[in-house]
C-alpha cells in the first residue's frame, strides 16, 4: 500500500444516518465508540458532517420520505467514499418489506459496499463490516487514482 492508501485506511471518518431505524442498530453503532470497543483506536471519528466523512453508515430501510435526504448526503460526501448498511432493515427492508411507503433496501437509492445483517447488528459485526469496507476502499484507492474515481 502506498502512503495515500495507508492514510485513507487509517483515518476513516464516519457519518451515521438513520433512515427510520428503530434505534436498535444506532445504539449498537454508538456502543462502538465506548471504551469497550473504542473504534477511535483505528482512527475512526463520528463526524456528523457529510463533507468531512469517508464512510456512510446507514441504518433503517429506504423509504419514500428519506430517499431524497439519503441521496443528498451521499452526494455531499467527497470521494473516495464507501457506504455500509447496518441491520436487516437496511439490507432488504426487513420487517418493513413490501409496506406501501417502502422502497426496500438502501441499495435501491445509493450504491452500497458492505451489508451488515442483524436485528440489531452486534458492535463486533459492525466493526467487521467497517474493516471489510476499508479493504474495498484500499482496493479502489490502489486500482485507480482519486481523480479518475471522482469523475467515475
Amino acid at each position: 500500500m502506498n502512503i495515500i492508501t495507508t492514510a485513507r485506511v487509517k483515518s476513516p471518518w464516519i457519518l451515521h444516518f438513520d433512515t427510520g431505524s428503530c434505534n436498535g442498530c444506532d445504539i449498537e453503532i454508538l456502543a462502538c465508540l465506548t471504551p469497550l470497543y473504542d473504534v477511535e483506536r483505528f482512527g475512526m471519528i463520528n463526524v456528523g458532517n457529510p463533507k468531512h466523512a469517508d464512510v456512510l453508515l446507514v441504518t433503517g430501510p429506504a423509504n419514500r420520505r428519506n430517499a431524497r435526504v439519503l441521496r443528498n448526503l451521499y452526494e455531499q460526501m467527497p470521494a473516495p467514499k464507501v457506504v455500509i448498511v447496518i441491520g436487516t432493515c437496511g439490507c432488504s427492508g426487513g420487517v418493513f418489506h413490501n409496506c406501501y411507503n417502502m422502497l426496500g433496501g438502501i441499495d435501491k437509492v445509493i450504491p452500497v459496499d458492505v451489508y451488515v445483517p442483524g436485528c440489531a447488528a452486534k458492535p463486533e459485526a459492525i466493526i467487521d463490516g467497517v474493516v471489510l469496507a476499508l479493504q474495498r476502499l484500499a482496493e479502489r484507492s490502489e486500482s485507480k487514482p482519486a481523480l479518475a474515481e471522482a469523475l467515475a
Binding site: 492514510a7 485513507r8 473504542d38 477511535e40 483506536r41 463520528n46 463526524v47 463533507k51 467527497p78
Partner: protein
C-alpha cells in the same frame, strides 16, 4: 550578499516552518492518545493527525465558493507568518495582530457560505476571539512593563524569568490555550471529536484539502502559543518549553473533566478570571516597582 548571520537566520526560519507543523501534529496526536487514556480507551496512534492530513489532502475537492479558499490560504499564511515573527524575536504586538488576522480570515471564510451552521460557528469564533484577545494583549503589555520593550528579543536579553513578575498572566494562558485549541469548556465555535452541536460549526463547509490546510494552520498556532508561553522562562528556554507543555497537559485535563459552556459564561470567565486578574497583575507590578521592591 549573504552573510553568515543572514544564512543562520534563513536556516532558523526554514527550520521553524518545517519542524513546527511536525511538532504540532505530534502534540495533537499525543493529545488524542492522552484523552483516550483518560477515558480508559486505547486511542489512536500518535501519528494519527498526519494520517488525517494526508487523507484529507487527497480527497475530492468540493467547495462552496472560491473566496472561501483564499481565506484558508490567508489563515494558514498568517499562522506561519506569526510563528516566523516569533522566531525572529520581533515585536510582540505585531505577532498578536498577525495571529488575529489569521483568525479573522477563517471567520470571514465561515461567513462567505450560506450554511447556518457555518454562520453561527463564525459568530461564535468571533466571540472566542473577543474572549482571548484581551488576555494576549495584556500579556504583551506585561512584557513591556517588565522589559521596557515589546520586542521578544528584549525578553531573551533579560536574565531573570518573567514568570516571577507575571505569574497570573502566565496562568491566564491556560484559558487562551483552551480556546485556541477548541477544548472544553470553550469549544463552542467548532468542537472536535464526537460532540456535534453545530455539526462542525465554523468548519462545516470546509472539506478535503482545505480542511487539511486549516488543520495545518492549527498546528502552527499551537506552536506559536506554546512559544509565547515559553517566553515566561526564556533563560534557559528549555524550562520555558517545559512550562508550556505543563500548561498544555493542564488544558487536556480540563478538557476531559468539564462540559461545554455557553458563550456568556465563556466571556464572564475569560474577562474576569483571565483579563481581570491579568490587570491586577499589571497593577501589582506598578505598585511594587513604585515601592522599589522590584526593578521596573
Amino acid at each position: 550578499m549573504i552573510t553568515p548571520s543572514i544564512a543562520l537566520e534563513i536556516l532558523v526560519t526554514v527550520f521553524a516552518l518545517v519542524v513546527a507543523p511536525l511538532a504540532g501534529g505530534l502534540l495533537f496526536g499525543i493529545d488524542r492518545k492522552l484523552t483516550a487514556r483518560l477515558q480508559n480507551r486505547i486511542g489512536p496512534p500518535i501519528v494519527q493527525p498526519f494520517y488525517d492530513f494526508i487523507k484529507l489532502w487527497n480527497k475530492d475537492q468540493i467547495f462552496a465558493n472560491r473566496s472561501q479558499l483564499i481565506y484558508v490560504y490567508v489563515h494558514l499564511g498568517a499562522a506561519m507568518a506569526s510563528l516566523v515573527l516569533l522566531v525572529w524575536q520581533q515585536d510582540m504586538l505585531v505577532i498578536l495582530f498577525t495571529l488575529a488576522l489569521g483568525g479573522i480570515s477563517l471567520v470571514l471564510g465561515g461567513f462567505s457560505v450560506r450554511s447556518p451552521y457555518s454562520q453561527i460557528g463564525s459568530q461564535r469564533e468571533l466571540l472566542q476571539m473577543l474572549a482571548y484577545e484581551p488576555m494576549l494583549v495584556l500579556a504583551a503589555v506585561g512584557f513591556y512593563l517588565v522589559t521596557g520593550s515589546f520586542l521578544v528579543a528584549a525578553v531573551f536579553a533579560r536574565g531573570t524569568p518573567l514568570l516571577f513578575e507575571l505569574p497570573v498572566i502566565a496562568l491566564s494562558f491556560v484559558l487562551v490555550l483552551g480556546i485556541k485549541l477548541r477544548k472544553s469548556p470553550f469549544d463552542i465555535a467548532a468542537a472536535g471529536h464526537a460532540h456535534q452541536e453545530l455539526v462542525r460549526g465554523l468548519l462545516t463547509e470546509y472539506s478535503g484539502r482545505y480542511l487539511a490546510l486549516i488543520e495545518m494552520a492549527h498546528w502552527y498556532e499551537l506552536l506559536l502559543v506554546l512559544g509565547i508561553i515559553s517566553l515566561f522562562w526564556a533563560n534557559p528556554l528549555v524550562v520555558g518549553f517545559g512550562l508550556s507543555l505543563l500548561l498544555y497537559f493542564l488544558v487536556i485535563l480540563i478538557d476531559n473533566a468539564v462540559a461545554r459552556l455557553t458563550w456568556t459564561s465563556m466571556l464572564k470567565i475569560t474577562w474576569s478570571w483571565g483579563a481581570g486578574l491579568s490587570v491586577l497583575n499589571l497593577a501589582a507590578i506598578y505598585v511594587l516597582s513604585y515601592l522599589g521592591w522590584i526593578g521596573g
